[in-house]
Amino acid sequence: MPDDPNVRDRHLRGLDALETAAPSGTDRPTAWRAAARVWAATWPKLAAVVLVVLVWQVVVWSGWRPVYVLPGPDRVLPRLFTELSSAEFWGALGVTMRRALAGFALALAAGVTVGLAVSRFAPLRVAIGSLITGLQTMPSIVWFPIAMLLYGISESAIMFVIILGAAPSIAGGLTSGIDYVSPQLLRAGRAMGLRGVQRYTLLIVPAALPMFVTGLKQGWAFAWRSLMAGELLVVIDQQHSLGWALSQARQFNDAEGLLAYVIVVLCVGVLIDVFFERADRTIRHRWGVTAS
């Protein structure tokens, strides 16, 4: 008889087990599996780097440009390692990263404030919604002349451009994240009596997080580009930064130094991107929207 509670309980547990067996079976990565995953993610990247270096070397050997203009990896990579062991390099990297983080933090504050305001007040959205989208497509270098007029040759000028470059993407990510919170979840939230601040902290902000992180990632890309452009244009003599090192190398026709610093800038960009990718993937995994 199905009325017997024990029979019913077994029936229910049987169904539960059948319906959840598959995911729990594949969800346990052992150490070996984790290592295999890391390797699977790493070797194509390594292969790509080796390939690029090879092509580069072949171009140099072809004699397309003289070696003092386009040195090969055989000269640039040793130079890169010499730079890496100098205190001056780490000082320059430190200055640049400090600017990047400070600028990004300011852009974050500005972007979140504007994004929340726009999603909260309809007239504000009508007023500046499309302006935010427009600002995202502005090449940040356009702002430098005006930034230098306003702030002179100073770090503030660079910060100004970073904020203008990154904040619109951050604000845009936040507003679209909030816009796309599922109406059904909002309804469930209302039925549970979520309102006021709790509605934001417990429902809207976490629900908007995936798109917000996408906005952050894009904002970072803009901030980093603006910063590099800024350091090349707004050369502050007392503060040696990556941009400063690049412009020094150009002035002294130091092609090896130039290329070494280009590689550094690229690596920093990739590293930060990996960080955002991780954050993105963790969130997607938690939300259950990954395929794997």
Partner: protein, 261 residues
């Protein structure tokens, strides 16, 4: 209207939990206005299980929203007499970024229940819906039926004694649905809940309801009430449930045919 002949409470007139009196709900204004509900009166006694059936456009979901206080009637009154009302939907609507346990904690956080007490309650509620040990799972790791049981636990975490269910079994396969019928019946009795269940499924309504209220469509009105005297526990595939359901289905079909134009 059929008068109730239920004898569970040995004849004492039980308190009303929900009183819907001459309620109308109109969406929009002017010539484009849509009357979802027109002069509907339903009263639900405490600890009663009432099933509302009707075709599309009978304002079932609107009615539940009115009882939950999520919207206000255009005319008439809805009185829940100070009872706390919780709601379940067709989708479990769990927050995907939270674990099962944290989802159940949400209503308690709204009500300011201290953390230690919340943990105890989560364990107790998970035990009630037979999902002990699943507190740390995430909703996407569960099946549809399990998610609905979590949603039920979350609704009960509101300390509500009136439970509104908006087609909560509609998206489930038949086997899971049958089991959840047993489960909701058990929990309704154990917790002395008052349940208003909205469904398209007449058999489901007869399987679960003390009373089945048949609604008309566009606008929604009460056509007829049926008292189901069949003893519990019932089986959805029993002959008596089937014949009672057939009777109500005929009535519902007649109503739907009226809209053929």
């Amino acid at each position: 209207m059929t008068t109730t002949t239920e004898t569970l409470d040995t004849g004492t007139e039980r308190a009303r939990a929900v009183e819907i009196d001459q309620v109308s709900k109109v969406f929009g204004e002017g010539p484009g206005a849509l009357t979802a509900i027109d002069g509907m009166s339903v009263s639900v006694r405490a600890h009663e299980f009432v099933a509302l059936v009707g075709a599309s456009g009978c304002g079932k979901s609107t009615l539940l929203s009115l009882v939950a206080g999520l919207t206000h009637p255009t005319g008439g009154t809805v009185d829940v007499g100070g009872h706390r009302v919780a709601m379940m939907f067709q989708e479990a609507s769990l927050f995907p970024w939270l674990t099962v346990g944290a989802n159940i904690e949400i209503p308690m956080r709204v009500n300011g229940v201290p953390k230690a007490r919340r943990k105890e309650r989560v364990a107790e509620l998970l035990d009630l819906v037979r999902l002990s040990g699943f507190a740390r799972k995430r909703p996407h790791q569960l099946s549809g039926g399990m998610r609905q049981r979590v949603a039920l636990a979350r609704a009960l975490a509101q300390d509500a004694d009136v439970l509104l269910m908006d087609e909560p079994f509609g998206a489930l396969d038949a086997m899971t649905r049958d089991i959840l019928h047993d489960e909701i019946e058990r929990i309704w009795r154990e917790r002395s809940l008052t349940v208003m269940l909205v469904t398209h499924n007449v058999r489901e309504a007869v399987r679960l309801g003390d009373r089945v209220i048949l609604l008309s469509s566009r606008p929604g009105r009460v056509i007829e009430e049926f008292t189901v005297e069949e003893e519990r526990p019932r089986r959805i595939d029993s002959a008596r449930i089937a014949s009672r359901a057939a009777e109500i289905t005929d009535r519902l079909r007649a109503e739907v045919s009226r809209h053929a134009g």
